[in-house]
Symmetry: C2
Subunit: 348 residues, 2 copies
């Protein structure tokens, strides 16, 4: 089926069919209806190759992420997924513009959004870790599609999200903790930085699981890596003598784990944390981390790019909300998740 065949069937020219297809007016209502009926009847869809050849323009996706080299590489994994998708789609005129911001500094995200205004983009991928800034960025880029990644936020109609439920993830971590270290005692919940949404929700899920179990207590500790966090950790073992395990609510678990190992408490402490960044992989291989929960950061980035591409280039629908499965990583299945988390790669 081509536009020309549709035109013939409707007794009009291709120009008219085109005007109907793109709602460009200048068509009488009666002709319009006739053409629409035939399009529907023949289940016509414009040829994507011809369309994009004619349009002949890049599809630019703007990406706003926290500083990639901070926070032990979690954001870098997301970035890798985005880059990989972009590489696969480079033949289909998809381009990526990445803008980094400092999530600790208010306004930094907004400022990055302003930089983006200079090279206008057709769609947006946004980690709304600073919700207020994110709202402003969205306001500054009206009418383009946006996908939230890592965290969600109240969504305008044109946005959707790719996220994991952090409460469920924490709850599952509780279950794993209980499996790996079933003796009664205390589990420490280690928070870092000020509580980000994901972090606090994970802590909440974890505690809720523990609260439902007989004889399991939890104790929250705040570890500020700019401060004397080592001391706090050591004190914890002094003040609380029945520590059975430590749950770190983010990807910095490898730092906590190696310190616990250093001060000799590793043998009696089960350690659980998040995400398959290289440092965590290494510490799990070393036997210092028992279990990791993964939120598939690379897949999140990969999936976000593909969704925007399908909407922008192929005119397909956006998923409203994509829920990322909660992966359990033990030493026994670590090797099956090597390098890219689960995305087939192309060689460059």
């Amino acid at each position: 089926m081509t536009i020309e065949e549709i035109a013939k069937l409707a007794g009009v020219s291709t120009g008219t069919v085109d005007r109907v297809l793109h709602n460009r007016g200048r068509v009488s209502p009666v002709t319009r209806e006739r053409v629409l009926a035939i399009i529907k009847e023949q289940n016509f869809k414009p040829n994507a190759f011809a369309r994009n050849l004619k349009l002949n323009k890049e599809f630019r996706i703007g990406v706003l992420l926290p500083l990639l080299h901070s926070e032990y590489g979690y954001w870098n994994l997301i970035y890798q997924g985005i880059i990989n998708a972009a590489k696969e789609l480079s033949d289909l005129s998809v381009k990526i513009d990445v803008y980094e911001f400092d999530r600790q500094k208010g306004g930094s995200c907004f400022e990055a959004g302003r930089r983006m205004l200079k090279n206008p983009v057709d769609a947006l991928i946004l980690a709304p870790v600073c919700p207020d800034d994110a709202k402003l960025v969205l306001a500054a880029h009206p009418d383009i599609d946006c996908i939230f990644i890592d965290t969600s936020m109240p969504q305008p109609h044109r946005a959707s999200s790719v996220t994991q439920n952090p409460y469920k993830a924490g709850y599952l971590a509780g279950r794993m903790m209980n499996l790996l270290s079933p003796n009664p005692g205390t589990y420490a919940v280690a928070l870092t930085h000020r509580a980000a949404y994901n972090a606090s929700e994970r802590a909440r899920g974890f505690k809720e699981f523990c609260a439902r179990q007989e004889g399991m207590r939890t104790k929250t500790v705040e570890l500020n890596f700019e401060g004397n966090w080592g001391k706090i950790l050591e004190d914890l073992y002094v003040t609380t003598t029945d520590i059975q395990g430590v749950f770190v609510v983010n990807d910095s678990v490898h730092r906590v784990a190696s310190h616990i190992n250093l001060i000799g408490h590793r043998p009696k402490t089960t350690i659980i944390g998040f995400d398959l960044i290289v440092q965590n992989r290494k510490e799990m291989e070393n036997g210092i981390i028992d279990c990791l929960i993964s939120q598939r950061p690379e897949f999140q980035g990969y999936s976000a790019v593909y969704q925007l591409y399908r909407k922008g280039i192929l005119n397909q629908q956006l998923e409203k909300e994509t829920e990322i499965p909660i992966d359990i990583i033990l030493p026994e299945n670590l090797s099956s998740t090597e390098s890219m988390d689960y995305i087939p790669r192309i060689r460059s």
Copy 2:
């Protein structure tokens, strides 16, 4: 960069550049080298839209799978993944032809391959559960790319694979069994049908893990669902009084689990099996199955289609071997894997 710009730079016509690009001869060696140098220097790649518009032909992927409605739906999950990818790619002229065969009947797979010869295909997705037949099918379809799914086999150069390591999966199942049911005793390993490759490797991995643990024994039982398998299961509990858990090496675990529940042994038996087919989801929700290992069948199918599409339409490279991660599913993360296993869907 277009062919015309390349031509201008090389001081030749587009026809000559085209002949160089497609090795169609009729170009003097010296001109050829000059053009190639410029192509490389400019990093020129032909526009995928223009190319496919001109070629204007469907890319047909032939799919050979065991009977979809047998075996409790595992193959159906693979099928769903394939269908989903095909739906997303239908705008890019990818078409799927599915041929089913009976894996229990020798020659059935080959016969399906012969049916396929009538509507020639451009690429192949093949579950080589009958390796001899698979070899013949490949021989009958020379020169086209092929991806093995579910299981691999010795590969000709033009084939690649999307599979999970079944030994590692069984080994991990052993670990989970030991976590969920740590008391010394016997674990039953339930095989069904005659040992397929994946099944026997999973059993081997599981037993190997157990052999490395103190005080854990394993006992293999063969359950033939056409025979009196219920009786065999009941006898097992009579002859072996310390059964701690049952490991079913495939997706039929829900049948075994509900029978164990029926005969009253569920409370003291940990049950582990494979794959998120609907029946297994339900029995896990009912609390009858403790743990499932998933090999992401939907992703396998999805990924196979996408890889062939990238090779066939976009001229990108095929992955040689894609290793599927080994997923651990517990009741606590079951809901995060709902419906499609991890593939974003488009509405039809």
